[in-house]
């Protein structure tokens, strides 16, 4: 084996050991219904939203419970102005007809909170 190939094998080995790419801290995947209905799972980025809204807007005013998977709502709720639909109405944020912007996740991902930067998040999530 040439030394070049050895070096290459070494590099590939190192790449394999390096950590996999990761989601941003507190990114949420919502896939209770999405894939069954034929669309991509929803990615909810906490970082994007908290720049624009304090936690209390969604978690007190809008009634989102603070546990991933505990908010059971449908697209029809959103269209009627509940949950995400309180802002995603074409007025404060894009309207629910922009399916792809929220339904942008990889297929097969289970509902959960992703992107634990260091702790990985408690096991129950």
């Amino acid at each position: 084996m040439s030394t070049w190939r050895l070096g290459l094998a070494f590099a590939v080995l190192l790449l394999g050991v390096m950590p996999p790419v990761s989601a941003e801290y507190a990114d949420v995947v919502l896939n209770r219904r999405a894939e069954k209905e034929g669309v991509r799972p929803v990615i909810f980025p906490h970082w994007f939203h908290r720049i624009r809204f304090r936690c209390k807007v969604c978690h007190a005013e809008l009634g989102f419970k603070m546990r991933v998977g505990s908010n059971d709502f449908k697209m029809s709720d959103i269209v009627d102005g509940r949950f995400c639909g309180a802002c995603h109405n074409g007025d404060i944020a894009w309207a629910p007809d922009r399916c792809d912007l929220c339904h942008s996740g990889k297929r097969g991902l289970p509902t959960g909170i992703y992107g634990g930067h260091e702790t990985g998040g408690p096991g129950r999530w």
């Binding site: 996999p20 989601a23 304090r54 930067h117």
Partner: protein
Amino acid sequence: MRESTSQADFWRRALVVLALLASAGVSGSDWESLNKDGIHDPRSPAIQQLQQPADALSKLTPDTAGNMVRWVQSLEKGEINPRANIRPDTKIRVYDSDVLLNLKGGMPIVRFPHRQHTLWLDCVNCHDQLFKAEAGATKFSMLKILEGEQCGVCHGAVSFPLTECFRCHSVARPGQAPRPSLPIAIPSGAVPPK
């Protein structure tokens, strides 16, 4: 002679490969781009339209954990101005009072600042399901917190992670060093390895 040359050659090449890998690691941003974050579908049309984390977060006060942003500081400095309500009749409540917890433990005492928490949250987010409103009435457990209960509902999931012991355990007991040497404390502003 020839053998030693090829050996030197090997190590030179290995070093180059290592340097390349290292520079890739160093130049990598603190924030992964959406098409490589492992949860977005790189083929989704949204990838071209959604804001990239680095675009927004690199402008805010840096941290060494979580979103790599000091969210409370960023809010207080006015770098961000998130809305506190969307309904005009919502009463915005900010409460300024500190609670000291863990008075008998071995770690430094926990100072819980209501103000920073109510800048973001409303009273009902914690009271009374997670914590009773009366001081001393709730028994805290680090184990529960690590399991995602009590403070761990947010810390470790969305607010700064549980690796940052001394941000909560911040009040030294008499005769105690302000920061016992257990976990590694990275000075704020330092660039952490990723």
